[in-house]
Every structure is written in structure tokens, then in C-alpha cells.
């Protein structure tokens, strides 16, 4: 029966995460301009990666979260907040606009900063002793 709660938790979390992603994108595009959507995606994916590292470490140090809470936070909220499809679409779009260097920088930068972000999320939580 907890299966049903996990599905509901993922649905609710992903709904909130998706709306957060929409908000961040709209704020970034309103400040920088319509051609800067990939800046927003970069920011979303790096902060989301940091958060998943932090939540993972927090859960580990507390002997594991309740499965429904874990589903809400990781698969739901953070999984729905970050996006891979927009990332690959924007990378291709940049190369279509003959911005090959920007496309390369965007892809390599997103992956490196994402992985480092996740690592820092774990390390910061551990350092904070949370």
C-alpha cells in the first residue's frame, strides 16, 4: 500500500519541481533575454545536482528517510526540477545557430558542474554535521 503513497509523493514532488523550474527559467529569461534559456537550465541542473547530493547524504546519516519522503524529495521534487531533455535540446539548438563553442562549453560545463555539484552537496552536508 505504501506503493500508492510513493507514486502520489513522486507526482506531487515533480509538480512542485516542474513549477520551480518554470519560475527560475522565466526569471532568468526576463533578466537576461529570450536567448538565455540555457543559462536557466544550467542553473537549475547544477543546483538540483547539489540538492540531490545533500539529500542523499542527509538520508544516509539519518539511517535512511521514510520511503515516501525519499520518493517525494529525490525522484519527485529534485527529479522534476532538473531536466535532461531541455539540456540536450538546447545543446543541439546552440550548434544549429553556429555557436559550436558555446554548445560544447554548455554540455561539458553542465556535466562537470553537475557532478561536482552533487559531490559538493554530499561534502557540505557532511561538513555541516547534519
Amino acid at each position: 500500500m505504501s506503493e500508492v503513497y510513493a507514486v502520489a509523493a513522486v507526482g506531487c514532488g515533480a509538480a512542485v519541481g516542474g513549477v520551480l523550474r518554470l519560475l527560475v527559467t522565466q526569471v532568468v529569461v526576463a533578466r537576461l533575454g529570450p536567448g538565455f534559456g540555457h543559462y536557466a537550465t544550467f542553473l537549475i541542473n547544477v543546483t538540483g545536482s547539489f540538492s540531490i547530493g545533500a539529500v542523499y547524504e542527509l538520508s544516509r546519516s539519518h539511517g535512511g528517510f521514510d520511503p515516501v519522503l525519499a520518493a517525494f524529495l529525490t525522484t519527485g521534487l529534485i527529479g522534476g526540477y532538473t531536466t535532461f531533455s531541455t539540456f540536450t535540446y538546447e545543446a543541439l539548438n546552440l550548434s544549429f545557430q553556429r555557436l559550436g563553442a558555446a554548445a560544447l562549453l554548455y554540455t561539458v560545463g553542465s556535466v562537470l558542474c553537475g557532478v561536482v555539484g552533487a559531490f559538493l552537496g554530499v561534502a557540505a552536508t557532511r561538513a555541516a554535521g547534519a
Binding site: A14, A15, T75, T82, F84, Y89, L92
Partner: protein, 144 residues
């Protein structure tokens, strides 16, 4: 600044997308997939990239989708279905467990195949549209 309809579209789409991602992950884990399910994340991210290419191409060229359904599908459903956080965390986990080569292959493979999948999605949408147009032109109806 933000329309309520847009928020509703994204929330509903992302909820559905997240649940589909959960089901795909559970199905692959049940079949005995890779440790901590990075193969499921790869499958989700590649199919999502393919779908996003198709949907954006269809939405740009035709008047198939209203703005509501367009953002429901793109930012909502497909955006919520795919995930970058699981991708980064999987890569970190692989590297931390000593599978450095797998980590590099997983990261590089996800990105290159993901971009190729978007391209394929766009090409498939264009080919379908061209086929539909030429069929209706042969019938003497002309492109609609």
C-alpha cells in the same frame, strides 16, 4: 507575470512525467538492471530527448498544439520525465565506487546519444510531415 494556466499545465505535466519515470525505473530494477538504476536513467533521458525533439518540431511548424498543450508537453511532461540530478548523481556514484571508466562512458554516452536523440526526433517529425503533405497533395487537396 505568470499565467495561472501555464502553472497548471506545467504542474500536471511534470507530475505525470515524474510518475512515468518512477514506473520505468521500477520496471527496469525489477528485471535486475544495473546497480542503483543508472540504466533506467539513461533510458528515460534518451527517450525524453527524442520526444522533446519531435514535439518542439511539430509545435513550431504546425498549429497542432495550443500554447497550453505545448507547455504541458514540453516543460511539463517531458521536462518532468527526464532528470539531470539522477544523471549527475549516478556519474558521481560510479566514480566513487571505483568504476571510473563506466562513469566517463555513462556521462559522455548520455550526452552524445541524448543530443543525437533530439536530432532524430526533429528529423522524424519533419519526415512525417513531408510524407503527410505529399500524400494530401497527390489527393489534390494541397497542403493544409
Amino acid at each position: 507575470m505568470m499565467e495561472r494556466r501555464t502553472i497548471v499545465a506545467v504542474a500536471c505535466g511534470a507530475a505525470a512525467g515524474g510518475i512515468v519515470r518512477l514506473f520505468v525505473t521500477q520496471a527496469m530494477t525489477a528485471r535486475g538492471g544495473a546497480p542503483f538504476g543508472y540504466d533506467a536513467t539513461l533510458l528515460v533521458n534518451l527517450t525524453g530527448s527524442l520526444l522533446l525533439g519531435m514535439v518542439i518540431e511539430v509545435a513550431q511548424a504546425d498549429t497542432v498544439f495550443t500554447p497550453f498543450w505545448r507547455i504541458f508537453l514540453t516543460t511539463g511532461l517531458i521536462g518532468g520525465y527526464t532528470t539531470f540530478s539522477a544523471f549527475s548523481f549516478d556519474t558521481l556514484e560510479l566514480a566513487a565506487r571505483g568504476f571510473a571508466l563506466t562513469a566517463v562512458l555513462y556521462a559522455a554516452g548520455s550526452v552524445t546519444l541524448g543530443i543525437a536523440a533530439v536530432y532524430l526526433g526533429i528529423a522524424a517529425a519533419r519526415a512525417t510531415r513531408a510524407a503527410v503533405r505529399s500524400r494530401s497533395a497527390r489527393r489534390g487537396q494541397g497542403p493544409r
